[in-house]
């Protein structure tokens, strides 16, 4: 690619800041490109993934833009996924970047159907001068979360960047698992019932409240947790009737629901009053001007189940401590294809994916 150098006599070929400043034409990366919504999907499709071709036998490849990829291994479905974590602050009410890094990847595997996590990797990029005691806390938290998820980090990588070259710590985790039944985003059919595994908005709202220095009492803490144990139970009961599972992370359940509606080519109708939201989240959301539907969760999944199995799955979720607040929140319709209709109890409107992430660095 030809480069226009703005400074005469600039001869060095090193990739420093002025090098990317000198790229004068074209679009630049904005925070929205990392938000996991429309802008991210467009960047991945048009810039990052355009040169790759999915393996012929891939069940879900890069083009699927799902939570993870599924490739056959012998007669099994191998699920792979990777996720980088940049959360600010790294220690927050109800969790820390270590618990988040393990939960995020475990959940991405689990919602593809790989609730039995075979192995995880962990790659850390750390800023020089970072306290080792904090690193130890993060590592201990990762180990404890692995134990909870019955998973293990089996390989890793550690890099250090100079002071000011990176903000504290970034953790990437990758994982592999095997899915007996693949629950990709595009599996919904009309009349399927939409379930949610927990009350929504707690991760994002608690984190933003913490950042804004607003105290709402001890109840408002992040929901970050591994969900593979809960989803394994749901899959056991639902079997092939479990059409879709998706963790409602960035962009909240609004993002997750729109994505599965679009990929399945169906409409989804949600009844707002059925969606569990704690009064703390409601109150803090109103105060901060944030919609709990559009805010990140790190331990909440949206499920699409055939109507005949919905009740059994819901009962099973209720049996588990992580599914006590689970609820049936809506159904799949053969109308408004690719969109989500929200019945507010008073009127109806579309529930949109937020145009940009309400707050950056939330996961």
């Amino acid at each position: 690619m030809a480069r226009v150098r703005w400074a005469p006599g600039y001869m060095s070929d090193t990739s420093d800041a002025s090098d990317f400043d000198s790229e004068t034409d074209g679009e630049r990366i904005g925070l929205e490109h990392g938000a996991g919504g429309e802008a991210t999907r467009k960047l991945v499709a048009e810039t990052l993934a355009s040169g790759f071709v999915d393996p012929e036998d891939a069940v879900v490849g890069l083009t699927g833009m799902d939570d993870g990829a599924v490739v056959p291994l012998g007669n099994k479905n191998l699920v792979l996924t990777t996720d980088s974590h940049v959360i600010d602050p790294p220690f927050f009410p109800g969790g820390d970047i270590g618990r988040l890094a393990v939960s995020g990847t475990v959940n991405d595997l689990a919602v593809m159907g790989a609730t039995d996590v075979r192995a995880l990797t962990s790659a850390m990029v750390i800023e020089a001068n970072y306290p080792v005691s904090k690193l130890k806390r993060i590592a201990d938290s990762m180990a404890a979360t692995c134990e909870e998820a019955d998973a293990a980090v089996v390989t890793g990588d550690t890099k250090v960047m100079g002071n000011g070259e990176i903000d504290g710590i970034v953790i990437n985790t990758a994982g592999v698992g095997v899915a007996p039944h693949v629950t990709s985003d595009g599996g919904l059919e009309p009349n399927d019932v939409i379930l949610i595994t927990d009350s929504i908005g707690e991760h994002g709202i608690s984190l933003l409240a913490e950042r804004e220095g607003i105290e709402f009492g001890s109840d408002l803490v992040s929901d970050v947790k591994p969900l593979n144990d809960l989803l394994a139970r749901a899959l056991e009961v639902g079997g092939e009737k479990m059409k879709t599972m998706k963790d409602a992370t960035r962009m909240g359940i609004a993002g997750a629901l729109n994505e599965i509606a679009e990929k399945s080519g169906v409409g989804i109708e949600i009844r707002e009053e059925r969606v569990p939201v704690t009064s703390d989240v409601k109150g803090a959301g109103e105060m901060l001007g944030l919609d709990p539907f559009q805010i990140a969760n790190e331990g909440v999944a949206v499920l699409g189940v055939a109507p005949e199995s919905a009740e059994n799955v819901l009962n099973e979720l209720w049996e588990h401590s992580k599914g006590e607040n689970a609820a049936a929140i809506g159904k799949v319709i053969d109308d408004h294809h690719g969109r989500v209709v929200l019945d507010t109890g008073i009127g109806s409107r579309y529930l949109r994916e937020p145009a940009s992430e309400p707050a950056p660095r939330i996961c």
Binding site: K282, G283, T344, I346, A355, S356
Partner: protein, 386 residues
Amino acid sequence: MSETPPAGPTGQIPGGDGDNALEFRDPEKAEAIADKLAELAANLSDPPATIMHVCGSHEQSIAKFGLRSMLPDDVRLIMGPGCPVCITNMPEVDEAVALAEAGVTVATYGDMLKVPGTTKSLDDARAEGADVRVVYSAADAAEIAEDQDGEVVFFATGFETTAAPTASVILNDPPENFSVLSSHKYVPPAMEIVAEMPDTDIQGYLAAGNAAIITGSGIFEGIVDEHDLPVVVGGFEPLDILAGITKLVEMIGNDEAAVENAYPRCVTEEGNQQAQRQLWEVFETEDGEWRGIANIPNANLVLRDEYAEWDSRVRFDIETAHLRNESASRLADDCICGDIMSGKAEPTDCEMFGEECTPDDPVGACMVSSEGTCKIWHEYGGHPDI
């Protein structure tokens, strides 16, 4: 505003508390009101009844709760010039940009940053190194002036609700390096102009309860007398709005032109008299251009001569000619923001809506402000009739 709004029936301030707010979001009560509304609409002699509201907060609530989807077909609800950021004229933004570029600290509300001037926004000026600060109130801007030696200009936008606090700051001995670039607007004259627009053809106004807390509901008597249509002052919870619309449809059906207060837990006929005294002590009205709508008589609020020492336009010789490069802003020529704010068009009538024009990259002011119709429709699905 020095007085707290009166408490609601349960002794709490409406909207300030989750549980209390729920009382005004009760689906069963909504259904009961909707039934009555349907009955009244069915008896209209000359349907449809077109009702205009003039407040971004009303539109927020209408879109968020999907209220349009439950209105009878014979009741049309449209938004008028209710977004102060949206109707701030380009030359006014140019003045603020010119001052910022000249090295003056410009403090303003966050929504104003991305509003396009003729060629530049304050955000552009800030990116180029100008000192532009976001504040939540006129008092915040005066505090910045307190803390520095250089000049601080408060680029003051908003209707009566924000003009009154600006007046209060000026009356309370602000620092000498503080001045006000007023783009404050006065809503009633704009309601009168829009009421007479043939394309708009409205039969009633739902007036903004928050402004009426200051001005009192009595302020709308003039509109009723002059234009022979009903004005109902409404609050912002969905049931408040539904009740206001129902009252309006009843009055339209009975051919009754009067002012009604459907928000009595907050609004009185007289309003907040102290705030009014301060407002008119400092400001007077002047004819002025509302962006995209019209030149409206007596709808701009400017500082009176007695307070000229705090008027940025008197203190500085503001030169904006260099900012008016006519070759720029091609897309803006196609923006129909003005038609939307006069109730002649809806956001979805605009070809750029959600395409070239998005909240991240807005073409017109209606997509910038959280009170702009386009931004609100975009956020809540862009297509409220389901």
